[in-house]
């Protein structure tokens, strides 16, 4: 086994927390059951790692096997990376997409290898019709750097691919080209959407965020959610409050639905608007040029935060602001069609 490969495997295994080690090794499926049983996982981590490296050497692990282990580690720790979304498009009147995975893999690899002599490309298919691609970049004269790879998750027969953000931006055009040509598309465009949570990005881009539907079988029960009212209050006041709270709840449900929201961390709007004023002679209203500003909402879980604003009665104000900004926004319009709140405005 090559020294660099041994070092690479060692560093990858060292990253894996002890409680995940057996799961990941089983998913890797490189070391046999018998071999794994000889390892005492209760030792100190360094000893476990040494034993595992020894077993890998016995089995003569290749660079490809090491890369596969790296892919599996990243799949288990997706949230450690920030993912960008790319959308591809076909030309008009193109034939039906007869996607052949073998052809795709060969084509993709060839394109990269032709451009850069030194590049490591590895693939791992998952059950949801997605293929994880790992690319370690080198140049004409230097070997690939295995410690700064780029990951691409491509959903075949869809126009979407997710790429891990990396600092090596000079290879992005080549990567885009390889992906486009191998998947028989014409163009590729980066979308204004980015997150640590691949599942949320998928939910937004595939429009799968709401999967509850009304059928005759599911009698949707009248939601008797407690509205948190003080029973000791005068019953007439309670009635007035109930009407208002029910209205707010209904609007919230129509806008956000009952499903868990996709996890977005920030949303940014460019706003270009003119100022309207009741007073005559207001300086701002008389401005010829429109006002330009950038509005940014951020939160660890933005959509859930907005959803919880409703009961706090700040909802109508935020809604007005978003309505206004959405109808005037430029440049970030793609986001408004994905997030359900904004399509209402």
């Amino acid at each position: 086994m090559d020294e660099t490969v041994a070092e690479f495997i060692k560093r990858t295994i060292l990253k894996i927390p002890l409680n995940e080690l057996t799961t990941i090794l089983k998913a890797w499926d490189f070391l046999s059951e018998n071999q794994l049983q000889t390892v005492n996982f209760r030792q100190r981590k360094e000893s476990v790692v040494q034993h595992l490296i020894h077993l890998c050497e016995e089995k003569r692990a290749s660079l490809n096997d090491a890369a596969l282990l790296d892919i599996i580690y990243t799949q288990f720790h997706q949230h450690q990376k920030v993912w960008d979304v790319f959308q591809m498009s076909k030309g008009p009147g193109e034939d039906v997409d007869l996607f052949d995975m073998k052809q795709f893999k060969n084509s993709f690899k060839k394109i990269l290898q032709r451009a850069l002599k030194n590049v490591t490309v590895s693939f791992r298919e998952t059950e949801e019709n997605a293929v994880w691609i790992r690319i370690a970049w080198g140049t004409q004269y230097t070997k690939p750097n295995q410690y700064k790879p780029t990951y691409v998750v491509y959903y075949s027969q869809t126009p979407y691919a997710f790429k891990s953000s990396s600092t090596l931006r000079r290879n992005t055009p080549l990567l885009g080209q390889a992906l486009t040509v191998a998947s028989k598309h014409h163009q590729i465009v980066k979308m204004d959407l980015r997150s640590r949570y691949l599942d949320s990005l998928k939910a937004i881009v595939f429009k799968q965020y709401n999967q509850t539907f009304e059928t005759h079988n599911s009698a949707t029960p009248l939601q008797e959610r407690s509205l948190g009212l003080d029973i000791n209050m005068d019953s007439r006041i309670i009635h007035e409050n109930i009407v208002e709270k029910e209205r707010v709840q209904r609007i919230t449900q129509e806008t956000f639905g009952d499903y868990p929201q996709p996890q977005l961390e920030f949303a940014q709007y460019k706003l270009e608007t003119k100022f309207k004023s009741d007073l005559n002679g207001s300086i701002l209203a008389e401005r010829e040029e429109p006002l330009r500003c950038l509005i940014k909402f951020s939160s660890p879980h933005l959509l859930e935060a907005l959803k919880s604003l409703a009961p706090a009665a700040l909802f109508s104000r935020i809604q007005k602001l978003l309505c206004y900004s959405a109808s005037h926004s430029q440049g970030t319009q793609d986001l408004s069609s994905y997030v359900p709140l904004y399509t209402r405005c």
Binding site: D95, V96, D97, L98, F99, D100, M101, K102, N129, Y155, S156, Q157, T158, Y160, F206, K207, Q208, Y209, N210, Q211, F213, E214, T215, H216, N217, E254
Partner: protein, 289 residues
């Protein structure tokens, strides 16, 4: 009030006191007048509120009286309840039966939720939903159609002009996809013994590639088949290529077999072709033994 006034200063202080008194009493009478006005307003509102409430109570009382009169006929009540339950079960069954028509829907607060139940060869397969908002323009609120089905294309063509056509076209695509998926799944699960390698498929199940042997464990060469379904509304392939692995010079019998397999794959569903292979193999085995 202090009676004895000091001359001079005392007069002004007295006048001030008198002034305050009158203003206080004026304010008091103003407040009282306002109170009276509000009092009548409250009475009016109470009246407005209590009136329908009174009417409601009265109605409830009379209904209760009616029920009390009817009480002795309890058996009639029970029969009625049973009859209603039976009716309810009937209606539920009819609504469920709609699933077998392949296309059903339920009105929602904002439009209609259409349910497409796919089937192939009499087997009920997956269901897909499209929730439509009835507005001008008609739009899709959310759906469970897989992302590789060209829903947006079909909607762009037909949704605004001819909703029937939109639904039927979507049904076609979904039923064909379900049918192709069913065939591929059956091949993988029921006829794995005849396959010599994994079945290669894609999300739309419109390209299938596999190698198979008619006599597993036997001496014959395996066949390679590649099925292309260029028509996404069909469950049978449009292009089939069968080749023989390792046989450069094929004997005529092998060539005949190869050609006949190509025809079979073009005309019959995949799992049925393999079922006939399995039957033939069984027959041959029984003849040999």
């Amino acid at each position: 009030m202090a009676g004895i006034l000091a001359p001079g200063l005392g007069v002004l202080a007295h006048l001030e006191r008198l002034e305050n008194q009158t203003s206080r009493s004026r304010k008091r009478s103003e407040a009282q007048a306002q109170e009276r006005v509000l009092g009548t307003k409250i009475q009016k509102l109470r009246h407005l509120r209590d009136d329908p409430r009174a009417a409601l109570w009265h109605r409830r009382g009379s209904v209760k009286a009616c029920i009390a009169n009817v009480e002795p006929n309890r058996t009639v009540e029970v029969n009625e309840q049973e009859a209603l339950e039976e009716k309810l079960e009937n209606v539920k069954a009819i609504l469920q039966a709609y699933h077998f028509t392949g296309l059903s829907g339920k009105l929602t607060s904002r439009g209609v939720c259409v349910c497409i139940n796919t089937a192939f060869e009499g087997n009920l397969l997956d269901s897909y939903f499209v929730d439509l908002v009835i507005q001008k323009p008609l739009r899709i609120h959310h759906h469970s159609v897989p992302v590789f089905i060209p829903l947006e294309e079909i909607a762009a063509k037909y949704l605004q002009t001819n909703i029937q056509h939109f639904l039927f076209s979507l049904c076609e695509y979904l039923n064909a996809y379900s049918g192709r998926k069913y065939q591929a799944d059956r091949l993988q699960s029921d006829f794995a013994a005849l396959l010599t390698g994994p079945l290669q498929r894609n999300p739309l199940c419109n390209l299938l590639s596999f190698t198979y042997k008619l006599d597993p464990g036997g001496q014959s060469f395996p066949f390679c088949a590649r099925l292309l379904y260029k028509d996404l509304t069909a469950t049978l392939p449009t292009d089939v290529t069968v080749t023989c692995q390792g046989g450069e010079a094929l004997s005529t019998s092998w060539e005949e077999q190869r050609a006949s397999h190509e025809t079979l794959f073009c005309t019959k569903p995949l799992h049925q072709v393999f079922a006939s292979f399995a039957r033939r193999e069984k027959l041959e085995m029984s003849l040999v033994s």
